[in-house]
């Protein structure tokens, strides 16, 4: 197990003679692991950029009056934050980085089914990102990330078309990734790796991909229609010209509500892996977790109307959408209960990934339950467009997706780089993020309940205490995000060698060397066991062997 040197030829290594050849070996790679690294760099860049915009928003909100930004600039700041975070971090985040890296390894394949399409998807992502960036550079966009008409058609004089082009192109990058995941899962599984032996991360990525391929084209055509409306002054969504702005909202949310599950489902998959590994136990209710991912993917397509309770849709469709929204709680709760049941009598070790996983469960429960509040028409109408909604989706998106993303990055960091990160700093930053997150967003529930509307840069005096608390929390949160950036980077040189399987985890990705060889498997493995085949006594053995300071 304990290797003394890095394997001679991992996927990261080259024998390129010149720097230019080295750059080319990365930019023209078709290796899914290298593409994942390219995505990792790009996505983290956009995450920092989106975080910067969020910081500007939070600084402005320290005082009740608008002293840093004008209302117009404030609109552009939160729009930049929303668009960058949603389209360029949350949606591609876990699938493009962890999914690209892990799915071929987990299913025992040498690569994705379509390696060149995979590389192409990265280029599309970069092109889309450049469109969005140039829109920001040339003055930004003020529509909010939802591009609601007529904010985006009649009443916007900002760079709507550039931004839309960015989101449109990025959508095709998502689709390429989704097609690749679906085909890889269907056709590239190693002999013996039946569907019910797949790691749950593969199941959740598969469910995510189904949503991606079914929903993304719809937002593509919708954004295209908005662009056409703006360019030619035709009236497809403009009531003055015969169109219907509600049609935009229906088409937009038909994608964008399932997109919420594109963001969170891969996170569920990561958490299932982490909980099982760090409890030294088989996951509880494997089939239920797998099918609940599929159920979320399917039900997720039927609930978009809950974004439109106050948009003038009929009472009856409001009721139906409200009811179906409640149904989403069932598969979500199944997952949470199964995770906690997995913890029960497990040998739990609080390594950094596990801290993120436990944080995820707590924050996701709060985010999910407040989602049920908002699914009730009466409560939703009361808190529509307030900070309550903002707090709710940040609990799911930041408390859920980002916690899972960071947990997954830490868990598979030794596999990706061959080196261990600093466990002490890892634990500290996970705790800082947890505290900072709650400090930032819990006050927003209160603010929203008290009536603070979202998207305003000025507010009444009495909200200031809570806003200052929230802004202070976001500073803590920012520190929590910067620390991992530092120690993870340092670990590339200073980290101790990880060995093939530092966590003693199951799964095919842990059977290859760290970092994996360029073609993953010399011999395609034959799988004879189910996933998470920790022996029944593994937890007890682990607990008996525990000494103060021992790693697991």
């Amino acid at each position: 197990m304990a290797t003394t040197a890095l394997p001679s030829r991992g996927y990261l290594e080259d024998d390129t003679p010149t720097v230019w050849a080295w750059i080319k070996s990365w930019l023209f790679t078709v290796d899914h692991k290298r593409i994942a690294i390219l995505y990792l760099l790009a996505i983290n860049f956009y995450f920092l950029l989106g975080g910067l915009a969020a910081s500007v928003v939070r600084i402005e909100l320290i005082t009740p009056q608008g002293d840093l930004l004008s209302s117009d600039l404030y609109n552009r700041a939160f729009t930049l934050h929303g668009i960058i975070m949603v389209f360029f971090f949350l949606i591609p985040g876990i699938p493009a980085v962890l999914g690209n890296f892990l799915i071929p390894l987990m299913v025992g394949a040498r690569d994705m089914a379509f390696p060149r399409l995979n590389l192409f998807s990265w280029y599309l992502y970069m092109i889309g990102g450049l469109f969005a960036l140039s829109a920001a550079v040339f003055g930004g966009v003020d529509t909010g990330w939802t591009f609601y008409t007529p904010f985006s058609s009649t009443y916007s004089n900002s760079n709507v078309i550039l931004t839309i082009a960015g989101a449109f192109v990025m959508g095709f990058s998502s689709i390429a990734t989704g097609v690749n995941f679906i085909v890889t899962t269907h056709t590239m599984r190693a002999p013996g790796l039946t569907w019910f032996r797949l790691p749950l991360f593969v199941w959740s990525s598969y469910a995510t991909s189904l949503i991606i391929v079914l929903a993304t084209p719809v937002v593509g055509i919708t954004l295209l229609l908005v662009a056409i409306e703006r360019i030619w002054g035709v009236g497809i969504f403009d009531p003055a010209l015969g169109g219907d702005p509600l049609l935009f909202q229906h088409l937009f949310w038909f994608y964008s509500h399932p997109a919420v599950y594109i963001m969170i489902l891969p996170g569920f998959g990561v958490i299932s892996e982490l909980i099982s590994t760090f409890s030294r136990k088989r996951i509880f209710g494997y089939e239920f977790i797998a099918f609940s991912s599929m159920a979320i993917a399917i039900i997720g397509f039927l609930v978009w109307g809950h974004h439109m309770f106050v948009s003038g849709q009929s009472v009856y469709s409001g009721l139906v959408f409200s009811f179906i929204t409640m149904l989403v709680a069932i598969p979500s709760a199944i997952k949470v209960f199964n995770w906690t049941a997995t913890l029960y009598k497990g040998s739990i070790s609080y390594r950094t990934p596990m801290l993120y996983a436990l944080g995820f469960i707590g924050l996701f429960v709060i985010g999910g339950l407040t989602g049920i509040f908002l699914g009730v028409v009466a409560i939703d109408i009361h808190v529509t467009d307030t900070y309550f909604v903002v707090a709710h989706f940040h609990y799911v998106m930041v408390g859920g997706t980002i916690m899972a993303y960071l947990g997954g990055i830490h868990f598979w960091w030794p596999k990706m780089t061959g080196r261990m990160y600093n466990e002490v700093w890892g634990g500290i930053s996970a705790l800082i993020i947890f505290v900072g997150f709650n400090m930032t967003f819990f006050p927003q529930f209160v603010l929203g309940y008290m009536g603070m509307p979202r998207r305003y840069h000025v507010y009444p005096q009495e909200f200031q205490v809570l806003h200052v608390l929230s802004s202070a929390g976001s500073t803590v949160l920012a520190i929590g995000f910067i620390i991992p950036l530092i120690y993870l980077t340092l670990s590339l040189w200073k980290g101790k060698l990880a060995g093939d399987n530092p966590w003693d985890a199951t799964g095919l990705e842990w059977t290859v060397s760290s970092p994996p060889p360029a073609h993953n498997f010399d011999e395609i493995p034959v799988v004879t066991t189910e996933a998470y085949a920790y022996p029944p006594e593994a937890a007890e053995r682990d607990a008996a062997a525990w000494r103060p300071g021992s790693p697991l």
Binding site: P7, F114, T184, G235, A240, G243, L247, S513
Partner: protein, 270 residues
């Protein structure tokens, strides 16, 4: 785990495998990350089908908009369809259906390894595709000529006979809300003058977007078939390996099937 020893075998090629896909040990057409040709074919076919689903969802947005506005303005929709050139649309449908037949025959020829027949059939397909675009282009230019006040595009180019009864169906800045002209819809074409709008423009906006997007797909389809022809001429396809022809053919059939829905929705349903 013998990490340092097991990696040796494949690493002889090392980076070279990145560059040339490492075709050692199997046929040229089998990519290195697949185990068998069967697996590669399954992957390619499934990938194409999944992609076709995304295409259907893309057009689905337009069909949704069509349904919503047809529901909102049934009279105008029924009227507007009469202003399309149905004979040309029907001719285009025939052209496209025949091209689907030639593609299907081409796939068959590829599977049988009959190279000359394959190239000929792909060539005919491209001719039919270009013919479709040509007829479509003529229909478009007819609408633009009417806006400019001429009977036909040829009359427009040669400053020939002006249009007796003016109508402009090309949507643009001067868009008119159909409902605002609801009562006037029946005799609307008496009111409008060249360059101005008509109450049918919402219909024609969707018509231009849907058929325009379809034409873009046709251009992509033409370049795919062109590439397949080139590959066929180079002798890439054999009776054991013809997957690209098959999945290229699937894409062509998608273009066909979308038109099969567009044609009745815009031209025939009154």
């Amino acid at each position: 785990m013998a990490t340092t020893t097991t990696t040796q075998g494949s690493e002889v090629q090392g980076h070279g495998a990145h560059a040339d896909h490492g075709h050692a040990g199997h046929g040229r057409e089998l990519q290195h990350h697949f185990e068998t040709a069967q697996q590669q074919k399954e992957a390619a076919t499934l990938g194409m089908w999944v992609f076709l689903v995304t295409e259907l969802m893309l057009f689905g947005g337009i069909f949704m908009a069509y349904t919503v506005y047809r529901w909102a303005f049934p009279d105008i929709w029924a009227e507007a369809a009469h202003h399309l050139n149905t004979p040309l649309g029907a001719l285009n449908t025939v052209v496209l259906l025949v091209s689907s037949l030639t593609v299907a025959l081409a796939v068959n020829a590829a599977e049988e390894g009959r190279k000359q027949r394959l190239i000929r059939l792909l060539g005919v397909t491209m001719v039919l595709g270009v013919a479709f675009l040509g007829i479509k282009g003529y229909e478009y230019s007819e609408k633009f000529a009417h806006c400019a006040g001429y009977e036909t595009p040829i009359a427009w180019a040669t400053s020939g006979a002006p249009l007796g009864e003016t109508e402009c169906l090309v949507p643009g800045r001067a868009f008119v809300f159909p409902a605002a002209h609801g009562e006037a819809a029946a005799d609307a074409h008496h009111e409008v003058t060249p360059g101005q709008s008509s109450p049918y423009q919402l219909f024609y906006l969707l018509y231009f977007i849907a058929t325009g997007l379809h034409a873009v797909h046709m251009l992509i389809g033409l370049s795919i078939v062109g590439m397949l022809t080139f590959m066929a001429a180079r002798g890439v396809f054999t009776s054991v390996y013809s997957t690209p022809v098959e999945i290229g053919g699937l894409y062509w059939h998608l273009i066909d099937i979308i038109w099969v829905f567009l044609f009745p929705l815009f031209y025939l349903v009154h």
